[in-house]
Amino acid sequence: MFDYRIYEQIERYLAGTMPAEEKAAFEALLLSDLRLADQVQEHRQVLQAMQQYGQRQQLRHKLSTIHTDMEAAEQGITSELTAWKVFFKKHAQTMAVAASVSLLSVFGTLWSVQQIKEPVQQQTARYIELRREVEKIKKEQRAIINGIASADATTPAPRTARFSGTGFAISPDGYIVTSSHVIQGADSILIENKAGLKFKVTEVHRNTDYDLSILKVEDPAFAGFSKLPYTFKTASSDLGERVYTLGFPREDIVFGEGSLSSASGFEGDTTSYQISIPLNPGNSGGPLLDDKGNIIGVINGKQAGQEGAAFAVKSSYLLQMVNEMKEREAGLAVSLPQQNNLNGTSRTQQLKKLQDYIFVVKVYN
């Protein structure tokens, strides 16, 4: 019975509800009785711990309730979303890294492939055939404008040529020569000269080794060209000889002049000359003439990345080809011109006479 009274006393002391006199007595007792002092200390600690523990339990319980409430409130709205959201949040960074790595590698690969390819491309494309790819849009627009201007809806707008080159007459009988590559893959071919004379032609002979093709005018109304003013040179021309050409790198005829710079062509090709005339796509198939008005070759290409290195097939091979054609089809009337009317005249006079026999070759496919 005595012990629990002491406890009560201790508790009253700790709670501070002891009357002043009793408290003074108790404190005096504490000083003398060390065991009692220990008891009080321990008692205080246990009670404190217990009370705090109780509060903590309550707080925890409260928080858990709040949490459950919160989850219950969220459940309805975002139960579907959260799983995905959590996954995304967790992996967003990884995904971002993966995405950027793949982007980087794609573009890196594209770029490096380009880098590797470029020199190769240059090497393979050193030789450029000079056929002109007609600026389609420009022409189409013009056709449309013409259509509006003429206000004639019944006639369909003319189809435009896909490619164009140059060609020239080799015989008054209606034979024309041009480069094979100009008319490659052609459905139909049309020729037209400066004067506006138009003929439909077909290919009658081809030699891809020399890159030459012979065309013939189809038109039944065609009565033949007038006498050709030039002749063909059978012998080789000399280095340094002044040469010139006429061609259609654009819609109008263009004159180009230079000199014969080498007796062999691209990579030592002995069937060609190297000439120093600035040439452009569309010049292919044009005649190469010397000062005296002899045709000495047919323009067919140039070397990319090299200034003033153009090539023309020698006229002797053209003649050889004409003979081949004659042999193949006996009785074919190809009368090559024998008389040169250009020799001794000025360059401008020569060009005036020549113009009518130079054609733009339009290729449709």
Binding site: M1, M50, R56
Partner: protein
Amino acid sequence: MRKSLYETDEAIMEGIRNDDDRALAHLYKLHFPMISHFIISNSGTDDEAKDIYQEGVIVFYEKIKGNSLELSCQIKTYLYSVCRRLWLKRLAEKGRYANRIEDSENYLSLEEDVPQHEENERQFSMMAEALEQLGEPCRTLLEDFYIRSQGMQDIVEKFGYTNTDTAKNQKYKCLQRLKKLFFTSYKPEA
């Protein structure tokens, strides 16, 4: 609940000081997503997030209650810092060392608050254990009297003692045993 009541940190703290449970609930809901995101993006689960967050809120709550909080930053930052520290510790205990913690917020180092909290925790777990070992009816008797502050008369009726003296005697014996149990395992830090 009107949110506008607790728009500022001060309002929330004031609410907690006044034992306003709505302030606590508001605070709890306000910052849980942040901690949840932090824990989950650092290899934790939903349950662990809840655990750690509650610990963090408790630290904060007790600091306010004890008036020992000198908040030099937002509550958000404080909570984040506490939870971050607690989580790192938890990770270390699990033997999983996070080589890189993904932080979404600034944080403070909190040299004192967390160790203090851990010391308290240790004490509480000892107390819980002691109470567990004490068994019934001692446990309920003590809890009723000291924690729930019920009067002696109520206890007498509840437990069916003949008079208050018996109850007091019983309480004395129980407390005696609890002291023994508690102090054998718990040594307060010197």
